[in-house]
């Protein structure tokens, strides 16, 4: 299993945000998490990425427990993410944003960088090369030197994707990547997610766009009120009466 989540629980004081959630993601899979607003989807991502600590339960990445580790440790273990509101570093260029993805693979401490030692230049060149490769992958190599703040929302997502891919992670968490995109942009994004999957990277994504999720995902996990409601192939989920009652049939904006 790439990712195995068992008996996961998260409480905020008296509020139970997630309860007894269990599911797994196999290597190379595209798995989607759906559910009505407040179902606990983003909380789930924050638990996996280490932004929040679980109250109970376990999260394993390739068999190793990552539950409760600090976020940087989980990042180093091979989990990258993109955010619901794109979080690009606005005062940095797009290239620099992507370079931060590969940052941890390269050496050069405070002293070496301040003194401008020779090897820091070599490391920097390698780091830039790696970033440029992923900018090309995300289709934004031609605007590498622009400031990230100048980009429209849709392109900021591609900066996030390039940055996340440059981390060389085995699992990428994408929180509503299609939010705020029009139909054409959503289709382009679906192609991007397939391309990510083709590199061998496992994808776990949250989204509300049903067409997007159903056409893309190998498997779907449905959350409702913080609990696992159903899990299966898109076909099974679309037919499940439980899911239709809780979500698909009622929430017509989905």
């Amino acid at each position: 299993m790439m990712l195995a989540v068992s008996s996961l629980e998260k409480r905020f004081g008296g509020l139970v945000a997630l309860k007894d959630v269990h599911f797994s993601v196999t290597p190379g899979q595209v798995k989607a998490v759906i559910g009505p607003n407040g179902a606990g989807k983003t909380t789930l991502f924050n638990l996996i990425a280490g932004t929040l600590k679980p109250t109970a339960g376990d999260i394993r990445l390739d068999g190793e427990t990552i539950a409760g580790l600090p976020a940087p440790r989980i990042g180093m273990a091979g989990v990258a993410r993109t955010f619901q509101q794109p979080q690009v570093f606005a005062s940095l260029t797009i290239l620099e944003n992507a370079m931060l993805g590969g940052h941890r693979y390269h050496r050069g401490g405070f002293l070496a960088c301040g003194l401008g030692l020779k090897h820091t230049k070599r490391e920097e060149d390698k780091l830039r090369e790696r970033a440029e490769q992923w900018l090309a992958f995300a289709g934004i190599a031609d605007i590498a030197h622009r400031n990230a703040s100048e980009l429209p929302l849709g392109q900021q997502r591609y900066v996030e994707i390039a940055r996340a891919m440059a981390t060389g992670s085995k699992l990428i968490l994408m929180d509503e990547p299609a939010a705020g995109l029009d139909d054409t942009e959503t289709r382009e994004l679906a192609d991007m997610v397939r391309a990510i999957s083709d590199t061998g990277t496992t994808v776990l994504l949250i989204d509300h766009h049903m067409d997007f999720v159903m056409s893309l995902a190998d498997e779907v996990l449905v959350l409702n009120f913080g609990q696992r409601l159903a899990e299966g192939t898109p076909h099974e989920i679309q037919k499940s009466q439980l899911v239709i009652d809780a979500y698909l049939g009622i929430d017509d904006d989905a």
Partner: protein
Amino acid sequence: MSVFAKLNNHPVRRNTIQVGLFLISMLLVPVIFGPGYYLNMMIFIAVLALPALGLSLLSGLAGQLAISHGAFFAIGAYGSAILSTRAGVNPVLSTLLAQLLVIAIAAGIGAVVLRLRSHYLAIATLSFAIIVELVIEEWRGMTGGMQGMLGIPPIGLFGHEASSDIQFYYIYWPVTALMLLFALNLSSSRIGRALRAIREGEPVVSSLGIHAAEYKTGIYVVSSVFAGVGGALYAHFVGFVTPATGSIMFAIEIIMVLALGGFDRLWGALVGVALITLLNEYALGFADYKKIILGVTLIAVMLVFPRGLLPGLIDLVRNRRFARTA
């Protein structure tokens, strides 16, 4: 590829050229203008530029505000003064040794405080600055208490001690230029990139597997050493230290320097220090109104150039140029 584009891909070379040209012009100043009282002022600018550069690295680059740069200036000054006067250590060596103390203390504070988010650092470093002031005032046997310490030996090596302003000028400006070069290199390296990213959003930086707390502690230590070296150079130039050296007021003045010169450019720290030093000097005639003159100038600059004088002027020149070509 143009020369400029090439230099952008080679920031160390670009920084070295810039600082080299700057240092050469600074070294030519006494040759052109001869000796004079202005040299004394220029030496102070070289010394005070160091804590300002340090704070610019911490606040401008990494977005963390500390009020301890006065305290580390004092630790550098007293540390080197005590070693050189009481233990007879050579002033160059004592300047370096004093930095070990600065590094140890800054790393300790940083490791504890920098795990928390930004404003805790300001509060914790303010408390630290108060403690340092108290220790300096009360530890009379070591620091001379309120009287301070006199007769600190001037900087020098192998029995040659600097004895005139011009000698200090030619020793101190190269040191300041080298430290400026270090700061510029750091800022344009991968470390600088990570720090600028931390300034914008620590959670995102963490998600990339980068330990933000380590980088923040690192830059806090480097930044404090800049202040500590400044303090030691100060002590070996003026020859005495008192509790007023590196007080909390001094720390706040350093923050004002950056507000004037601009937080987001290291060169702005030099511009700010030069401005404050000149203002201090020429407002002397109106001693009673000095603080008012400083305050009004600061407010005026902030109104016209909210990001500071240097970035403001650069923007102005750029806009002019665009206006012309348009």
